[in-house]
């Protein structure tokens, strides 16, 4: 996987720290403004990273998921002081539960989109580089698992295409025929996956993977930019967590909506959070502009 954007080119520690912070904050802050900022910047970054695929993913999967989450919450959560109507089972439908559902839908989608960015940036070599020393066996298992999915998909495509050559693909024939062909492909895939797992496990074991003393080659080093990034992330982390503790992100839905008043002080926390969410984009845009300027100067 190539590091197309500047943020991916940063040291793995920077990448991991950034995503750890952003994900924790995205999961813990219920304030709608925070969630909106988090979702918008996550979407923007994923579109920057993956282009049209990210848009397709968002519209095809994330939008229905959001609607589902927003509808399901008032069906199961009946708390709240503003009763709008009564559901068929006799429990109240409240304004607070509807808003809470919308809010948590945004939260859910935001976290998922952040994770797609995480997968794009934190490649398995970075992950093993970071955790290979501390938890060798676990980081090996994680990187193998992460690698397994794309390999499986790739192999499925190969198998189904070669089956197509002999007219046994799941795309032709009657429904029964298709089912049978699909089951054949699935069975081939399961066999392949088991065999492959055993083979690669043996192979890796014989090469000393998972042992504590094993070293790994890497060309990551912390340069000036990474130091600045670490300082910036540290500042954001301390500032936002102190705001969190003092309740600057407080927002409550049940039983009644109550939130922290908006003062310049609380707004400053929001601003820092927004800047933190936009950090990779800002860095990328800055470096893109530098590159353009350099190229036009040639």
């Amino acid at each position: 996987m190539k590091n197309r954007d500047a943020f991916s080119g940063c040291h793995p520690v920077v990448n991991f720290l950034y995503f750890a912070m952003v994900l924790v904050f995205a999961m813990c802050f219920l304030h709608p403004v925070c969630l909106g900022m988090s979702l918008v910047s996550a979407l923007a970054y994923s579109i920057y990273l993956k282009g049209g695929k990210a848009v397709r993913f968002a519209v095809l999967y994330m939008l229905p998921m959001m609607v589902l989450a927003a509808v399901l919450n008032p069906a199961f959560n009946h708390g709240g002081v503003t009763i709008l109507a009564y559901l068929p089972d006799g429990n109240p439908l409240t304004l607070e539960s509807i808003l809470y559902g919308l809010d948590s839908a945004v939260l859910l989608v935001g976290v998922i989109v952040w994770f797609t960015c995480f997968n794009e940036v934190m490649t398995s070599d970075k992950f093993v580089y970071l955790f290979g020393r501390i938890i060798p066996a676990l980081s090996l298992v994680i990187s193998m698992t992460l690698r397994f999915v794309p390999r499986f998909v790739e192999q499925t495509r190969t198998i189904s295409q070669s089956q197509k050559c002999i007219g046994r693909d799941a795309s032709t024939g009657s429904v029964w025929q298709r089912l049978r062909n699909g089951a054949t492909i699935l069975s081939i895939m399961v066999t392949w996956a088991l065999e492959n797992a055993i083979e690669s496990a043996d192979s890796m074991k014989s090469r000393g993977y998972g042992l504590p003393g094993r070293t790994a080659f890497s060309i990551y080093r912390i340069d000036e930019r990474d130091k600045h990034m670490l300082l910036w992330l540290g500042f954001c982390g301390v500032y936002i967590i102190s705001g969190w503790i003092t309740g600057a992100f407080y927002w409550r839905f049940i039983p009644s909506i109550k939130h922290v008043e908006i003062t310049p002080f609380t707004l400053s926390f929001m601003l820092v959070y927004l800047l933190l969410c936009l950090t990779p984009l800002i860095l990328n845009v800055k470096e893109d502009n530098t590159w353009k300027r350099l190229r036009s100067g040639i």
């Binding site: 009946h78 708390g79 002081v81 006799g90 409240t94 039983p255």
Partner: protein, 299 residues
């Protein structure tokens, strides 16, 4: 060498014990949790024993009332509905008379005890006890003499048509006022300062309706939030929260309970067929019923 080899045999048990200790000390929000402290020990005793916790004056009558009224009403709510609904003033005695004459003496202490019980249950409300006794005890003593003849149901049916069936219902969370420190901080502001969510109101009902129907109608009419869930195992609704005060909001022993004529039924509210003149009290308990005199119903 030994340490290197058996490191995990030591570390893992120590970790497990540490986690258990932490869970034990910080696990519960029940008052006095963290140990089997001095103030928790009496309440379980009260829960099994029913009475010692409640005030001395109420205790004999409280122990008598479940024995008296428990036997007739859960077993045959239907016959009572059909025969006894009768005049609005005779629910208790007729039920007692139809089951056995020997019960009737125990019904009278029950009636006389109601003011005390209601006073002990809702100490903060000064105005309400005056309302409830006027509903209950006044009719029953007047009906006591006619109860003794067993053919009492016969004369009543004519009155039944012109009389609408009514019962009284009140919802109170006065016990929270004494346990504010246990209360969920988010819920503190919605707790009424006098503990009354719904003062005693008269609710009309149709024959064959259960306590659940009455509660749902009353809360809807008065715009009070009410959430329930249905538990098939007990074949009854379960009250999760009224007026946004939910179970477990005030400590882990808290929740809603109901009493009918100052008796706490030990079964779900859908299983109680309402009789004319019943007095329902919906009470929030912070101590499994012991603080509202209903510990025996929890078992």
């Amino acid at each position: 060498m030994w340490w290197k080899k058996n490191k995990f045999k030591v570390i893992v048990p120590v970790l497990i014990v540490a986690v258990l200790v932490v869970a034990f000390y910080f696990g519960g929000d029940h008052r006095g949790s963290g140990s089997w402290g001095t103030d928790t020990s009496p309440s379980p005793a009260a829960g099994t024993e029913t009475v010692p916790e409640t005030t001395a004056s109420a205790s004999p009558s409280a122990s008598a009332s479940p024995a008296a009224s428990a036997s007739p009403s859960p077993e045959k709510p239907v016959p009572e509905q059909s025969s006894a609904p009768a005049a609005s003033r005779t629910p208790e005695p007729s039920a007692a008379a139809s089951s056995s004459p020997s019960v009737s003496p125990s019904a009278s202490p029950e009636a006389s005890e109601t003011p005390e019980a209601s006073a002990s249950a809702e100490p903060s409300a000064s105005a309400e006890p005056s309302v409830e006794p006027s509903v209950e005890p006044s009719p029953s003593p007047s009906e006591m003499p006619p109860v003794s003849p067993s053919e009492e149901p016969e004369p009543t049916p004519p009155e039944q048509e012109e009389h609408k069936l009514t019962c009284t219902l009140s919802i109170s969370c006065a016990t929270i006022l004494d346990n504010m420190e246990l209360c969920d901080p988010d819920k503190r502001e919605i707790i009424p300062s006098d503990g009354w969510i719904l003062g005693p109101v008269t609710v009309e009902f149709e024959e064959g309706e259960s306590a659940f129907d009455v509660l749902q109608r009353a809360t809807r009419e008065h715009g009070i939030h009410f959430e329930y869930s249905f538990s098939p195992f007990y074949n009854s609704a379960y009250v999760e929260g009224i007026a946004n005060i939910y179970e477990f909001d005030v400590g882990e022993l808290s929740g809603w309970m109901y009493s009918v004529n100052d008796w706490f039924p030990g079964f779900g509210l859908s299983g109680y067929a309402v009789k004319d003149g019943d007095v329902f009290k919906w009470l929030y308990t912070c101590d499994l019923g012991a603080d509202i005199g209903g510990g025996y119903a929890v078992g």
